[in-house]
C-alpha cells in the first residue's frame, strides 16, 4: 500500500514537492491538534471504572440532554438546509441593490461572540421581548426558555455553513443547463429535482454536516435562551460545564466522550451519503 502510494507520487510531479515531507507534516498537525486532545479525553474518562462511566453516561438527566442536543441540532441544520439553499440561490442568481451587504450579513453568526448572540436572541424572544411577547399573545407559545429557543439559537449559528458551501456550486452551475432542460420539455419542478438538485446535493450535505456538527458543540448562545431547566432544556455541553465547575473532570470527560463518539458516527453516515450521491449518476 505505502509502496504503491510512494511510486505513484514519484511518477507524477506535483507542484508541492516532497510527498513524504508534506504527508508527515499533515499527520503530525492533525495528531497534535485533533487526535491528541481526543485521546486525552478518553484517558481522562477512563480514570473512572466502567461501572461509574456507565452510571454517568446513562444518567436520566444526561440522556435527556443528549436527546435535546441531537434533535435540536438536527432540526436546526435541516432548517438551515432549506433556507440556506434559498439564500445562496438568491445571492447568486438575482442582482439586487445591497446584495453585498446581505452577503456580508451571512457571515455575521461566525464573527459574533456566541454569548452576545444568545443575549440578543433572549432579549428579543423572551416573553418580555418585542417578538417573544407578540408571539406569546398570538399563539400562546413561549420561545425563550423552551426547546424552541434552543433550536432558534442553533439555527442562528449554523446559517453560514450551508450558504457558504452551496454558494460556489450554484455560481458554477451554467444557466445553459437549465435552458437545455427546458428545451427538452422539462417543467420547472423537473428541472429542479432532476438537474439542479442532484448537482447541489453533495454541497448541501456538506453544509448540513457542518451546521449539524457546529450545533452539537454550541454552548454560548444556547445557555442564555434555553433557561437550562433540568430534563427539558439542558444541552449536553451545559452538563459538561456544570461537571467542570464541580471539579468532576472525569465525569465531564465521560459526557464529552459520549458526544464525540455519537458525532463521529453521524458524520461518518453523512459522509457515506455524500459519496453515494456523488457516484449515483454512474449506476443505472
Amino acid at each position: 500500500m505505502t509502496l504503491a502510494v510512494g511510486s505513484a507520487a514519484r511518477r507524477r510531479r506535483s507542484v508541492i514537492p516532497g510527498f513524504g515531507l508534506t504527508m508527515g507534516y499533515t499527520l503530525m498537525y492533525l495528531s497534535v491538534l485533533v487526535l491528541l486532545p481526543f485521546v486525552a479525553l478518553f484517558f481522562k474518562a477512563l480514570e473512572l471504572s466502567w461501572g461509574e462511566i456507565w452510571a454517568i453516561a446513562s444518567d436520566p438527566r444526561a440522556v435527556a440532554s443528549y436527546r435535546l442536543t441531537f434533535t435540536a441540532s438536527f432540526i436546526a441544520a435541516s432548517i438551515n438546509l432549506v433556507f440556506g439553499l434559498l439564500t445562496a440561490w438568491v445571492l447568486v442568481r438575482y442582482p439586487f441593490p445591497g446584495r453585498r451587504v446581505v452577503d456580508a450579513l451571512v457571515d455575521l453568526p461566525f464573527a459574533l461572540p456566541t454569548a452576545v448572540a444568545g443575549i440578543a436572541l433572549t432579549g428579543l424572544y423572551a416573553t418580555t421581548g418585542p417578538i417573544g411577547a407578540w408571539w406569546y399573545e398570538t399563539f400562546g407559545i413561549r420561545i425563550a426558555y423552551t426547546e424552541l429557543g434552543v433550536i432558534l439559537a442553533l439555527t442562528f449559528i449554523g446559517l453560514p455553513f450551508v450558504v457558504r458551501t452551496v454558494q460556489p456550486v450554484i455560481e458554477d452551475l451554467e444557466q445553459e443547463v437549465e435552458e437545455a432542460a427546458a428545451s427538452l420539455g422539462a417543467s420547472r419542478l423537473q428541472t429542479f429535482t432532476r438537474v439542479l438538485f442532484p448537482a447541489l446535493l453533495p454541497a448541501l450535505l456538506t453544509g448540513f454536516a457542518m451546521a449539524f456538527a457546529r450545533a452539537l458543540g454550541e454552548y454560548g448562545s444556547v445557555v442564555f435562551i434555553a433557561g437550562n431547566i433540568p430534563f427539558r432544556t439542558e444541552i449536553t455541553p451545559l452538563l459538561i460545564i456544570i461537571k467542570l465547575e464541580q471539579y468532576d473532570f472525569a465525569g465531564a470527560a465521560t459526557l464529552g466522550a459520549v458526544m464525540l463518539l455519537a458525532s463521529f458516527v453521524l458524520l461518518l453516515v453523512i459522509n457515506g451519503l455524500q459519496m453515494w450521491s456523488g457516484t449515483r449518476g454512474r449506476t443505472q
Binding site: E174, E176, V177, E179, A180, A181, A182, S183, L184, G185, A186, S187, Q190, R194, V195, P198, A199, R280, G281, R282, Q284
Partner: protein
C-alpha cells in the same frame, strides 16, 4: 417544419440586438446565421427557440404562430456551444432525459426509451460510451451527445448555437462534415449560428449574413461569396482588396485607372470603393488594350501550397493589392520589385459611405 420570422426586434437596455428582422426558412433546410460577435445572430436563434422573447414581431412554425409559446412547448432541439450536458448523468441518461420528463400519458415505456436512446447513440457513433459520464468524454464526443439529446425528443426544428466553437480545428472540420451528412439523412429543419464564414459556406444550404442586428444578405453560399450586396458582406466573407476612388461620368477612377461604372450614371460625382477579390485579378508584363490595367510593384511573393500569393503596391496611389493565382498558371514567381500590370476581372463598386453621408450605392 418551416420557420417564418416576421419583423422581429429585440433590445437589451440601450443595445439594439435585432432590428426588424424577417426571414423564411423552408422545411428541411440547413441555414447558417453568419456574422461577427454582437451582430444578433445568437439572439435571433434564441428567439426562434423561445429562450428569449422578441420585443416586436412574430415567429411562426409551419404558419402557426409560436411567438408567445414557451420553450417547453415549442418542441425545438437546442445545442449549446458549451454542450450544457447534465454532469451527474451518464451519456445514456442525458439522451433519455427529454423522453423521461414527459407527462405519464405520453411517455414511452422504459424499453422503448432505451431502444430509441441506443439508436440515437449509434447515429452519433457513441453507443459504446452509454455508461460514461460527460467529463470522461472529449469535446467532440460531448457535442455529439448534446446533439443526440436534442434529437431524442424528435424536435420540429434543430437549433445549434456555435456548435463547434469550443472545439479545436481538426475536430471542428470533421464534425461539420459529419453534421452535413447527418442533416442529409434526417432532413430536420436546422439553423446554426457561426462566426466562421468557412463553416457557414461548407455546411449550409443557405447563409444569412447579419450585421448590427440586421440581415445584410441571404443566399446560397456561392452567391454570398460571388455576389455580395454590400461592402460589409464583401469584407466579412472571404479576402478582398478595397481601393478608394471617385466616380465621374459613369466611370470610376481607381488606382490610376478607369473602371466602367454605368449603373452610377446620374449619381456622380461620388466617392466610391472598388472591391476586388485577390483571385479575380489577371497579371501581365504589359498593359492590354483596355484602360483598366493597374500598374503595380510587387513587394512580396509567397507560395502557399497550390496558390501563389502576391503582395503588390499600386504605383499611382500606393495602396496595397493582394493577388492570388494558381501556381500552375504562373511559370515563375515574380520577385520583389518586379513591375507588373494587374487587371481586375470582376470588380464591384460601392459608394463610399464614410465619404457620402447619404449612403447611396450603385
Amino acid at each position: 417544419m418551416s420557420i417564418e420570422i416576421r419583423n422581429v426586434g429585440k433590445s437589451f437596455g440601450a443595445f439594439q440586438a435585432l432590428d426588424d428582422v424577417s426571414l423564411d426558412i423552408a422545411t428541411g433546410e440547413l441555414v447558417a446565421l453568419l456574422g461577427p460577435s454582437g451582430c444578433g445572430k445568437t439572439t435571433l436563434l434564441r428567439i426562434i427557440a423561445g429562450l428569449e422573447q422578441a420585443d416586436t414581431g412574430a415567429v411562426a412554425f409551419q404558419g402557426e404562430d409560436a411567438t408567445r409559446l414557451d420553450v417547453r412547448a415549442r418542441r425545438v432541439g437546442f445545442v449549446f456551444q458549451h454542450y450544457a450536458l447534465f454532469r451527474h448523468m451518464t451519456v445514456f441518461d442525458n439522451v433519455a432525459f427529454g423522453l423521461k420528463v414527459r407527462p405519464r400519458s405520453s411517455r414511452l415505456s422504459k424499453a422503448a426509451i432505451a431502444e430509441r436512446v441506443h439508436r440515437l447513440l449509434e447515429l452519433v457513433q457513441l453507443d459504446f460510451m452509454a455508461d460514461r459520464l460527460p467529463n470522461q468524454l472529449s469535446g467532440g464526443q460531448r457535442q455529439r451527445v448534446a446533439l443526440a439529446r436534442a434529437l431524442a425528443v424528435e424536435p420540429r426544428v434543430l437549433l445549434l448555437d456555435e456548435p463547434f466553437g469550443a472545439l479545436d480545428a481538426q475536430v471542428r472540420k470533421d464534425l461539420r462534415r459529419w453534421l452535413r451528412r447527418l442533416h442529409d439523412e434526417l432532413h430536420v429543419t436546422s439553423v446554426f449560428v457561426t462566426h466562421d464564414q468557412e463553416e457557414a459556406m461548407e455546411v449550409s444550404d443557405r447563409v444569412v449574413v447579419m450585421n448590427r442586428g440586421r440581415i445584410e444578405q441571404v443566399g446560397p453560399p456561392a452567391s454570398i461569396y460571388d455576389d455580395p450586396v454590400s461592402p460589409f458582406v464583401y469584407e466579412f466573407v472571404g479576402q478582398v482588396n478595397a481601393l478608394r476612388g471617385r466616380i465621374v461620368d459613369g466611370r470610376a477612377e481607381v488606382a490610376g485607372v478607369r473602371l466602367p461604372a454605368p449603373s452610377f450614371r446620374g449619381l456622380d460625382p461620388l466617392e466610391a470603393v472598388a472591391y476586388i477579390r485577390p483571385h479575380e485579378i489577371a497579371l501581365a508584363d504589359a498593359p492590354g488594350q483596355t484602360e483598366d490595367w493597374i500598374a503595380v510593384t510587387v513587394t512580396d511573393c509567397t507560395i502557399a501550397g497550390p496558390v501563389l500569393r502576391i503582395e503588390a503596391r499600386v504605383a499611382a496611389t500606393g495602396e496595397r493589392l493582394e493577388i492570388e493565382m494558381p501556381r500552375g498558371g504562373a511559370s515563375l514567381a515574380p520577385g520583389p520589385g518586379a513591375r507588373l500590370y494587374a487587371r481586375p476581372t470582376n470588380p464591384r463598386l460601392f459608394a463610399d459611405t464614410t465619404a457620402n453621408p447619404t449612403g447611396r450605392d450603385r
